[in-house]
Amino acid sequence: MSAPTTATPPGGVGEVVHDAPARGRILPRPVTGQEVVLVVVIAALWLVLGLATPAFFTSGSIIPLLVSMSPIALIGVGMTIVIITGGIDVSVGSIVMVSAVVTAQALVDHGLSLPVAVLLSVLVGGVLGLVNGVLIAYGRVQAIIITFGTLNLFKFVGLQFFGSSTVEGIPATFAFFGRGEAGRTLGIPHSFLIMLVVATAAWFYLRHTAGGRHFYAIGGDAVAARLAGVAVRRRSLIAYVLTGLLSGLAACFVIAQGTTSLAASVGSGTELAVIAAVVIGGTSITGGRGSVLGTVLGALLVQTVTTGVTQLGWQSQLSDLFVGLFIVVAVGADLVRQRSRRTS
């Protein structure tokens, strides 16, 4: 038997979904749909907050918000790269703790200058990141397991520096990164600016250099990346070291945002806040896809929610509920968009 055949236009066979990308472009769009959604959501939130609490749009309100989100976004830049490679780093909170205590103690004991103190903090973070990186890249173990381990190990190290005490009387060296007058130039907080510079550099690195693209390749298929001649181990090592370095820098911001004393609880819970920012920003937790810009927006959204809940005078414990909801909504939006792209 034979069926009556409907004529199909030529070219209908053997072609799957190719007309989606525009001509003349060899990279995915610089701004993903997720980022557009986030911008819209944040704008809407800011509008609502501005209407509800008149003080929201004053610099006294916006600047602390930008300062507060900076360390999370900064670590988020590193975490984004790590997650793009298909890894994860849950030890960043402990890295912040160790960097912060070492630096704060050195500030108290030796009265370091600002650049030296920053360098110290970044170096300490980098060393711990190197520990993670070596274990993960050369021990060939899942990142989540190793970093759960080093989360505890680093915390132990940090506690040794604290010596069952707090660091008191930290000088105002880091006021440059702080919330106060000394932390601003032309009204823009330094910590936010630095974070933006780092994020922009990371954006360029990830998008336009061979090394940056290799992170995506590794996250897409590590075996294939190795076969293609990508230095997979060295690349993943770099991702963790970068995260460590940025956590060290973030530790300076954290010291600056705290008081003149530093307690052992510093940094705890950072990892979840950072991961929340990264995933809200549209980075795929399974690797191979993600953007630094999204992470920065994710951190901004989370901080907006926390600030908003307090400023609206709602129970502060509710902010977590909203953060949870936003994670679901943001990831849901991303999912819907991906599906529609696939089926179109």
């Binding site: 060939r140 173990v141 899942q142 190990l153 953060v323 909801l325 994670i327 990831v331």
Partner: protein, 367 residues
Amino acid sequence: MTTATVPDPTGTPPARTTGDERPSLASRLLRLVLTQRIALLVVLLVAVVITMTTLSQNNYLSAPYSPSYMSATLINLVPLVLLGLAELLVITSGRGGIDLSVGAIVSLTGMVFGFAYGQWGWSLLAALALAVAFGALCGALNGVLVAYVGFPALITTLATYYAFRSLALVINDQQPISTKPVQDLYSTAAAVQLPFLPESFPRVPLGIFTFLVPTVVVVWLVLARTTWGRRLYAVGTNDVAAEWTGIDVRRTRFSAYVAAGAISGLVAVVTVAQFASARPDAGVSGTGMALPAITIAVLGGVAITGGIGRVAGVVLAALLVVWLNAGILLAVPGNAGTQLQLFALGAVLVFAALLNGITNRRYGGTQ
């Protein structure tokens, strides 16, 4: 062009057997310890107990590391093992399965249980059933999002962790519930003399018998002997293949999260009993309960990539951690002792993970 032929040394094509020569006993033992997580854990556990007992006998400890102490510390084993099993189920279900929200479920369910049992005067059984059902409901929310909507588990449970934690605090204005019935529940967690055994036999926390053993047996039976267990492992190993095999992948994965939620509900009751109060931050204070539970699961040999994980591994890993921690408290006085516990946990985890890496290269995987 020429024809080059390799003369076959035996004349016939060699038989395709594995392992041609018999390895020595020592290398077989090494292989066993490296490839069988259970064997490794037993070795470590024995090492810890022997070390501590020796230290104890030579008076290096501030108090005897005796059977009665070891048994008293078992009270911590109950929540640790149960939540470790909850993680085992979801991690085994694959696709990056993990549950960060178990601690928050414990908090929220504990409050619900506290209301029912402590305030509305429900019977213990009814309140227990409610707790398990409510925990399962929380798990079902995770399950729907992960299995049916397709959210990554890490993100889903991070979101619900935030949400449940927040609700647990708000639901009773951050007040714990500690009415008389709730306080009296401690008797179900306290250590008891076992029947038919001599006086000298150490007293064992009741929770071991009322909660731990039944749950362990049930989870073990379900995983190792039932078709649901088979489906779970199949889904965790390769969910696309499971789909083509006719397994309802979504329902299987969904049910893993529901089961994890139900177990967390059970832990909520255990925790309420142990603390003699329903506390809104029971499962999230400090580092929370989820991280230790995941740690235990991983240490117990559960592969984070899914499809691999055994109940015995989780139980042994939890026992190892509990007894190691208990020993450290006696060996190292002062703040240094509690700090050293962090080090020990981290070191054991990294060590086990590295060993996994070596094993993978040398023997092609751990079981």
